[in-house]
Symmetry: C2
Subunit: 217 residues, 2 copies
């Protein structure tokens, strides 16, 4: 609809300030949440004046949108390289590694991502983009499971399994991110992979091995 009416030409200094402000915003959002964070606090964290902040962002919401947008973009790039055909053909343990490791690394490096995506207090635009990302990830999980599970698997159950696998991943991810870097975190990562392996193994067993004893439930 409306073109950006301000083809403002930025200097290198300005780009640096923007990055600096977004980093500050990420830190403060992460610590206090979006609503409880004041724009003055972001400016203070970035060591600039409120006026300077508003030279680069029209309002508080735009800061969160820009930050969230960049994080989502980075995440998209990452998961785009994850659901590749060669990965899909991997044995289940390696498949889990290939999918989880990049996601975990990203979320550990960018804790603001989870903080921004999770709150019910974030501006609507972020929630929308998050929903899109969520749906996209979910459909890729569905596709992947569908490609490897028995073809007789009802779509309805496929959806349930994909939903639950993703939800379980998010739960484990929260634990992992909260754990202190080091062996504790590594242990949690290994444990989450165990959960997912044992959950998915009966469905995704390699061809010809589908006679494994399905547990009593």
């Amino acid at each position: 609809m409306t073109e950006d009416p301000k083809p403002r030409r930025r200097q290198a200094r300005g780009e640096r300030r923007i990055a600096q402000l977004l980093q500050a915003a990420a830190d403060v959002f992460c610590a206090n949440g979006y609503t409880a964070t004041s724009t003055n606090a972001i400016a203070r964290e970035a060591k600039v004046s409120p006026g300077t902040l508003y030279q680069y962002f029209p309002n508080k919401e735009a800061i969160a949108i820009e930050l969230g947008g960049r994080l989502i973009h980075e995440m998209r790039e990452r998961h785009g390289q994850v659901f590749t055909p060669e990965n899909v053909a991997l044995p289940l343990p390696e498949l889990i590694d290939a999918i989880l490791d990049p996601m975990i690394e990203f979320n550990c490096l960018n804790p603001a991502f989870l903080a921004l995506m999770h709150g019910s207090e974030v501006p609507g635009r972020i929630a929308e983009e998050h929903d899109e990302l969520h749906a996209s990830l979910l459909s890729q999980v569905r596709e992947l499971i569908g490609a490897r599970a028995a073809p007789a698997l009802p779509v309805e159950e496929l959806d349930r399994v994909a939903d639950m696998a993703f939800a379980v991943f998010k739960g484990g991810l929260a634990l992992i991110v909260a754990a202190p870097e080091g062996p504790a975190r590594d242990g949690a990562v290994a444990e989450l992979k165990k959960v997912l392996y044992r959950y998915l193994e009966p469905l995704l067993a390699e061809e010809g091995a589908r006679v494994t004893t399905t547990p009593p439930r």
Copy 2:
């Protein structure tokens, strides 16, 4: 330290107002989060004036604390009846039912609980009580798993398993609460139980059945 200096004597009407205000607060907190909720909005939702609200609560924080306290109390009562000796002796599938079902029911009936416990924006007192509850639940999970797993299981791994089982439960719970009541939710519940069963079965197999094929990881 300080005794409550106001042994204010409440009428039945007052108690009703308090319940009404807490219910309204639960709804609005749930919809908008703690910080973004104004006390006037709570009063409006409860169909009373701001002045009336402040007759029963000294400030906004006290509302959240009272609400959170009541929910935590109710949850404690519930989980107290869940980790009983007779439950501990149950076969794993029934054990999972016995533990998960009350928790899930409570959280579906009181969505404000998750909303209040989860935010990093809640008043410190709530966070403390939540940490206590969390630690208490976790230790009971540890105890239960420890009682049933192989005695040779290192405590270190026991801790990891309990942490992960609880984290996975929380992830699945979020999916369940978000699902619309009905078959979708029931399906999600069954799926979460499958996850936990398959994760814990190798550890908690009944005595004498511990020769089950442990998966390659």
